[in-house]
């Protein structure tokens, strides 16, 4: 099920530019070129650019005063804090997992490796709503651990732990799937060389493996973080939507929007859009670095 599994194809940036327009064999008639450009750029503007612009335009429609008021309002601040908390827990956990999985998969041979990779990719091919549902089935009142949790007064569902768990699930593969192909391509000769030269396993890892994959690692972390902060469906199912308590930023956007408080909804949404733009900028920067290193 590899097709289902992959979600973010690693993007190799445009390398040495070829001049396709120089040779008549790789050039189209100019009317074809202009038609293609007009169609695809029109499509791009309509479906990608306009929504982005709309977020900021709607956010500022009622002026900066309303905009900032929406951001400093206590429920908004609480949702920002919760979103940061979920990301601060989920990202490092998935980072450590990603490194461990990549180390085992890329540096050693064992049976069932391909199957393991497929399993790691699984969360990408599951609908976010189903991702939420599984935790309801495990921790909900009618779920496996529901009665036990109730008895001991532990709240997971409709509380912060549930939100964190759902976030971990949907961001689970990000770091691992960046690192596995990268570390597989690099092989294990450099680590072996380090060990022959007297390095311990940790020294080989810190001094050789990690510096070699640092850009790929950062890439995975950035994408993992963007998804962790922006997840909606899975978190929506397990949150319970308690204002000021279990609302993340995206859920807060939903509530404001459903209350027809559009200006505030878009103001909060613009924060998330800014996060997306920062993510894309960092991503582009890392890709250029990777290109430089390679």
């Amino acid at each position: 099920m590899s097709a289902a599994a992959a979600s973010l194809p690693v993007h190799v940036p445009v390398r040495t530019h070829r001049d396709y327009q120089a040779s008549p064999a790789t050039r189209e008639a100019s009317w074809v070129r202009w038609t293609l450009l007009a169609l695809s750029l029109g499509f791009f503007a309509l479906f990608l650019l306009l929504p982005l612009v709309a977020v900021f335009a709607e956010a500022l429609r009622k002026g900066w005063g309303v905009y900032f008021a929406a951001l400093v309002e206590p429920d908004a601040v609480a949702s920002i804090k919760l979103t940061l908390l979920a990301a601060v827990i989920a990202v490092p956990l998935n980072l450590v997992f990603g490194i461990a999985a990549a180390w085992a998969i890329a540096k050693f041979e064992f049976r069932g490796k391909q199957f393991l990779i497929t399993l790691i990719d699984l969360p990408f091919s599951v609908s976010p709503v189903i991702a939420g549902l599984i935790y309801v089935l495990v921790f909900g009142a009618q779920g496996w651990f529901g009665p036990w949790l109730q008895e001991h007064d532990v709240k997971i569902l409709f509380a912060v732990p549930g939100i964190v768990l759902a976030t971990i699930f949907v961001t689970f593969p990000f770091v691992a799937r960046e690192l596995i192909p990268l570390m597989e391509a690099q092989g294990r000769e450099e680590e072996e060389a380090a060990i022959v030269l007297g390095a311990s396993g940790w020294q080989a890892f810190w001094r050789v493996t990690l510096p070699n994959v640092k850009w790929g690692l950062l890439y995975g972390v950035i994408l993992c973080n963007a998804r962790a902060m922006g997840e909606f469906g899975a978190v929506s199912v397990v949150s319970g939507h308690i204002r000021g308590l279990t609302n993340t930023l995206p859920l807060h956007v939903e509530i404001l929007y459903n209350e027809y408080n559009f200006a505030a909804a878009f103001a909060v949404a613009s924060l998330l859009a800014l996060l997306a733009l920062v993510t894309l900028a960092l991503k582009t920067y890392i890709e250029s670095r990777q290109e430089y290193v390679a």
Binding site: E190, E192, A194, V196, L197, A199, S200, P211
Partner: protein
Amino acid sequence: MSIEVRNIKKSFGEFHALGDVSLDFPSGELVALLGPSGCGKTTLLRIIAGLEFADSGQVLLEGEDASDTHVRERQVGFVFQHYALFRHLSVFENVAFGLRVKPRGQRPGEAAIRRKVRELLELVQLDFLAERYPSQLSGGQRQRIALARALAVEPRVLLLDEPFGALDAKVRKELRQWLRRLHDELHITSIFVTHDQEEALEVADRIVLMNHGKVEQVGTPQEVVERPGTDFVADFLDLDDHGPAWLVEAKIRHRGYSLRAANELERAA
């Protein structure tokens, strides 16, 4: 330091890479493991290094059983076929690596490390490249840096896996004469793996011919050329086709000649 392997056996699944190999590598010699690809020579080299573990049999270093000694403690220098230089470190830091990862008590001071690395870079005649990165070097330069890096930890033996395999013909010729000179200077027990009979005949003190995980013949270049032990040896050394053994002998003499010439050049300089 002498190396001895006793009754080494190794299989990968169904494939028998090595079937009961026993060999002696006397101290200070430069030995070639020669054979076609898949004959087990690289596996044997990696087992001696401790990068691979035999299914049965022993590796003795200086008469002591080292079979269970970790590669880290074997004090071997290993030059990888594709050099395995650390791509994120400069040439200087590559060579210094083995010194920097020593346990705190044995680690030389910064000044001592600098001195040692300089010495080694001068030895391989690449001191002007210290600040470059591996990706900025030519194949031959990488090869010599890999050797300098391996020598930095003062290994008791030097193991080279197809040291000239990835180089073009001209550089390959130059480097193998250079390796021979270097060995004459350092006298460190060395084993190199090659599939190129010319290379083995020209550089090695002694040649181990291998085929299908078995040793076919051991001897000096002269011996294997004059008295090939098996049909395989005669065939692999091309002794029939190129018929006259004198041609090969000329090559061996050629090595002696170039060696003399190099020594004279050094004296002159």
